[in-house]
Symmetry: C2
């Protein structure tokens, strides 16, 4: 038996056929064209699934479940996407719509929670019962797993770790609050801070590596410059790691998972990021206790969400 995982994004819809163990056997994607009616988008999602099944020679009876990871707030029990701002979906019963085309059980969850579940079942957190996965990308996404289950609160809107304030009355976040973790610890924040530092320090390697054009800055360049000994870049990285550690220590003090999985673009730095991060977390940790929570890099990359979506039947089925 196989599962299908779908990652419904604002730009693309990706789907994959996944084994019982969480191994992906094929994957494809189509553009979301998000301005369309939800019925059209869901029809395309179904057709993408059917195409993948056909390519693999699979019938409906071979598919145990379809899981959808979606932005916004999802009600997993009812299979309803309550609200997804960038898709303009509002109270859409994804299960019912998809089952018009394919007669298999359909499950739905928030995409960050799917990524956390994916890492928990077959990624970096697979030998742990309790984990938190954070994604350092455009924003800071979060998913909480306790005892193998997704913890998303009573109204399915929890797990928003990026939107916990670490700097009261700080800079404005896209969510409207002041000083959210996301404002300081996302890839976007790192790029912004690197641009500011490069502009202020025209002789820095930071500026040379973008050929004098700060618009070319990405999340990798400050790490590269810092490793090559650029003091300005090192300051940017140290400050970024400080921001990141404040939120991670908050997670440890409140949830104390066995492992925190760091994903998203910035996590491509691997141990370049994690070695100083663990050191800074150790420095900030509550009391004199040694830190017991492990901090590791995500293993599934962009596929975490699809694999987690495919595995939703394991927790909701």
């Amino acid at each position: 038996m196989y599962h299908i995982g779908i990652d419904l994004g604002g730009t693309n819809i990706a789907a994959a056929i996944v084994t019982e163990e969480g191994k992906m056997i094929c994957k494809d994607s189509i553009p979301t064209l998000r301005e369309r009616e939800h019925t059209e988008i869901l029809k395309d999602m179904a057709q993408l699934c059917l195409r993948l099944m056909k390519e693999e020679g699979l019938k409906e009876k071979d598919i145990y479940s379809i899981g959808i990871g979606s932005p916004g707030t999802a009600d997993p029990e009812k299979g309803i996407l309550l609200y997804a701002n960038n898709l303009k979906f509002h109270n859409v019963c994804m299960r019912k719509e998809l089952q018009k085309y394919i007669s298999v059980p359909v499950y739905l969850e928030n995409d960050a929670n799917c990524a956390a579940l994916g890492e928990s079942i077959s990624g970096a957190a697979k030998s742990y019962k309790d984990s938190v996965t954070i994604t350092l990308g455009t924003g800071v996404g979060g998913g909480i797993i306790v005892d193998g289950q997704i913890v998303s609160g009573s109204f399915h809107g929890g797990g928003e770790l990026g939107h916990h304030v670490i700097k009261m009355d700080g800079d404005r976040c896209s969510c409207g609050r002041l000083g959210c973790w996301e404002v300081y610890a996302s890839a976007t924040a790192l790029i912004r801070d690197a641009r500011i530092a490069a502009a202020k320090n025209p002789k820095s390697l930071l500026l040379r590596l973008v050929d004098g054009d700060i618009q070319k800055m990405n999340a990798k360049i400050p790490f590269d410059a810092a490793q090559q000994g650029d003091k300005i870049a090192q300051e940017v990285i140290n400050q970024y790691i400080h921001y990141l550690a404040v939120g991670i220590v908050n997670i440890i003090n409140v949830l104390q998972p066995e492992v925190i999985v760091v994903g998203g673009g910035v996590s491509a730095q691997g141990e370049n990021l994690l070695v100083p991060l663990r050191k800074e977390v150790e420095r900030q940790i509550y009391g004199s206790d040694k830190i017991k929570t492990k901090i590791v890099a995500a293993e599934l990359g962009n596929d975490a969400g699809i694999i987690g979506a495919a595995m939703l039947s394991k927790i909701y089925g």
Copy 2:
């Protein structure tokens, strides 16, 4: 059948006999004399239990369990108090020690988690599966209940909501971190800020209500002065409610419980505190969504910890 709950504090040990439904039928306390050996303290705890049983005409066979709420980090499965700074207990098997004197099952949990469980089973959160109880006292205590179970992390040290940083690089907390919620939202913080404001504003009602002696300040006086129209006191209260709301909105964004129970000394203000607090939380909440999490006052007062301790067998038995 009855349960016994014990609240092991730094100053006093309180114990009570509690019904299956979480109703206290008798209670007494003795001084902890915390400098003593743990064996002596545990002997006193046992004798307090035996005395209460005798007074109520109960035998060992009438007692289903004894639960202990303790400061510090407890391992509920093993009944071991791993670490409690202000008691100097280190890896003490409370279960084994207590069972030297009374042959009934013994359970152990952190005291803030016991208070959360007490409110969850027979207090302000009793009709809810998911709740968070915060205690605004000397510090800010926290206990997380998800699906009726205490969430305290993989190493029993989670739930430390008072020690999540809301003001990065802010004032030093007793735990060593900078800018913990507790530094701004505890009763201690309110008293400190009221003292500063009173000292700066000699004509304020705030100073008159303490007869010009800021050492007499308590957590009630700024509320009293604010209600009587004192502008300085109103500023202190507004600022305090702002601090409190930042942490509460963080809890909502991360855990989104059905209800947040506010306990501890400051919660004696009831709706005087909660009406402006709910308004400020509504203002700060993520996105444009209406807040769904209820914010209510604790119902069990100082007994929450004892009642929760008595009920530990319901979740660990």
